[in-house]
Symmetry: C2
Subunit: 305 residues, 2 copies
């Protein structure tokens, strides 16, 4: 179902559950692209929704979840990971009663835990639930920080499964493409492994480093003499602790594997330092620099930054 093939040629009504940075930015982008002329917000905090309305991010809002679901052609769960699981538990049972339930998607950082929740509630993967994950974010948060350009040239990973209706997958794909994102498909397990390595593990390492230094005896001195490299390295330790607790728990198995893989490598480096093995250190540092420089070049070519 393409955006323009809805009954009467209208564009889909998109209901966003959770109007934060990601949900608000998606609404702005969908307005801007003409993909949807009706974005409705739902949440618990009326002040945020009211602000979203004033800013023109959404066209309407409701505090009533049933009303929100009923209004939707596309329902986007734009809450943190563990809340998204709870949303599915609340929403899916009600959809059994609807003839044509909305297409549902989400933006959470872990996909396996949501799939397991959906399967448990529905007894299999719901055909119109297409899990997704935009690889975009900002140090800022909340609807005030929302930005129609947030997804331009960023990747959105969809993890469709056999049970999905092809038309539902294509509608979610069309929605993200209209924001300027590049959409790629991936398996659920592969997504969680890749994100554990590139995002979840680095966050755990940054938190562990800052906490280890902050609780040492010389912590005051240590931070006084840290410089720009340390600032960049630890920037992600300023991320939202609740969001990252949820991700660490939701992606436990892939994250533990990534931690162990990293710890092995660190142990090898430690042993090389201990025995003064400069050749081994140089080999590793060289390989890492080559890989990191290639990654930086790739990222620069993709984002123009």
């Amino acid at each position: 179902m393409a955006a323009d093939s809805l009954p009467g040629g209208t564009t889909p009504t998109v209901v966003i559950l959770g109007l934060g940075l990601i949900g608000g930015s998606l609404a702005r982008a969908l307005h801007g692209s003409g993909f949807s002329h009706r974005c409705i917000g739902w949440g618990h905090r009326e002040a945020s929704l009211q602000r979203g309305l004033e800013l023109g991010v959404i066209d309407a809002y409701t505090l009533d979840l049933e009303e929100a679901v009923d209004a939707a052609d596309i329902l986007v769960i734009a809450t943190p990971t563990l809340v998204a699981e709870q949303m599915l538990e609340q929403i899916l049972p009600r959809l059994r009663q609807r003839g044509q339930p909305p297409v549902i998607t989400d933006v959470a950082s872990v996909k396996g835990s949501l799939q397991r929740t959906a399967e448990a509630v529905w007894g299999g993967m719901p055909p119109r639930l297409v899990l997704g994950h935009p690889i975009a974010g900002s140090e800022r948060s909340g609807v005030e920080a929302s930005d129609a350009q947030l997804f331009v040239n960023h990747r959105v990973i969809l993890t469709p499964v056999e049970a999905n209706e092809p038309a539902a997958v294509e509608l979610v794909r069309a929605m993200w493409l209209s924001t300027g994102a590049e959409v790629v498909d991936m398996g659920v397990a592969e997504h969680d492994t890749v994100l554990a390595a590139t995002s979840h593990l680095p966050h755990v390492l940054a938190y562990a480093l800052v906490d280890a230094l902050a609780s040492g005896d010389a912590s005051e001195d240590i931070f006084r003499f840290a410089a720009g490299g340390f600032r960049d390295f630890t920037r992600i330790a300023s991320s939202d602790p609740v969001m990252w607790r949820d991700i660490a728990i939701a992606n436990r198995s892939a994250l533990l594997q990534a931690i162990d893989q990293f710890s092995d490598r660190l142990g090898q480096l430690r042993a090389a330092i201990d025995r003064g093995d400069g050749d081994s250190l140089l080999d590793t540092f060289d390989r890492a620099k080559t890989a990191r420089d290639a990654f930086a070049a790739l990222l620069a070519s993709r984002t123009g930054s």
Copy 2:
């Protein structure tokens, strides 16, 4: 000995051994401040020295180490850490023959290894050798990237010892103050511990992470889906491998201690993830975020960035 108290009221001749980013930037800054009107470069690669002369970074150069040492009121060893040890081994024996040897300082990232080298060669710490470390750098390197403003509002750590002539310490301090740096004194062991924690350990972690990911099966995918947070976190893995091999070896003992302290904390986080202990994760992430935000505020207030 203040800069203006040299015989005849002239400013000191500063000889820089190794005309890279740090040495070149120091020469530019000393010219700019009027601390020295005569900066002489020494090195192995004449092309770099010639370029430094053309750019006005230095006033003269020589390839002859004896000539360089003889010309110096202040000798700055601006080479990487392990080369700095070799320079001391070459220079110190010659100084015995000079009535008034130059004041010597350096810019290396590790101080204990240089102190041990100097003591072994001289039979104690030479009174006019004042070890130092400017906490400044850039992703760029070489004399072409040198910048008179590099040290402005950055810290320079000096690690004077009992055996030092007070006048020698004050001359090195005056030199760095003239570049716009903030100069602080610290013990040799304390310097190496603080730098192991804030700089050497993060580099080892970044190298270990990138190398672990690059050698996994899914490495291509992994880097394709990494985003901005990963770029910041791994930026320091693009640093010069030779320089970091040298630092890791020179600061072995403090670095091993920092790695072990970090590994303990990571092990605790791993255990909390494994048992699904959200409260413990949230405690750690919260503490780390608070410490990191405080550090970022401190750094911003210091650099105005």
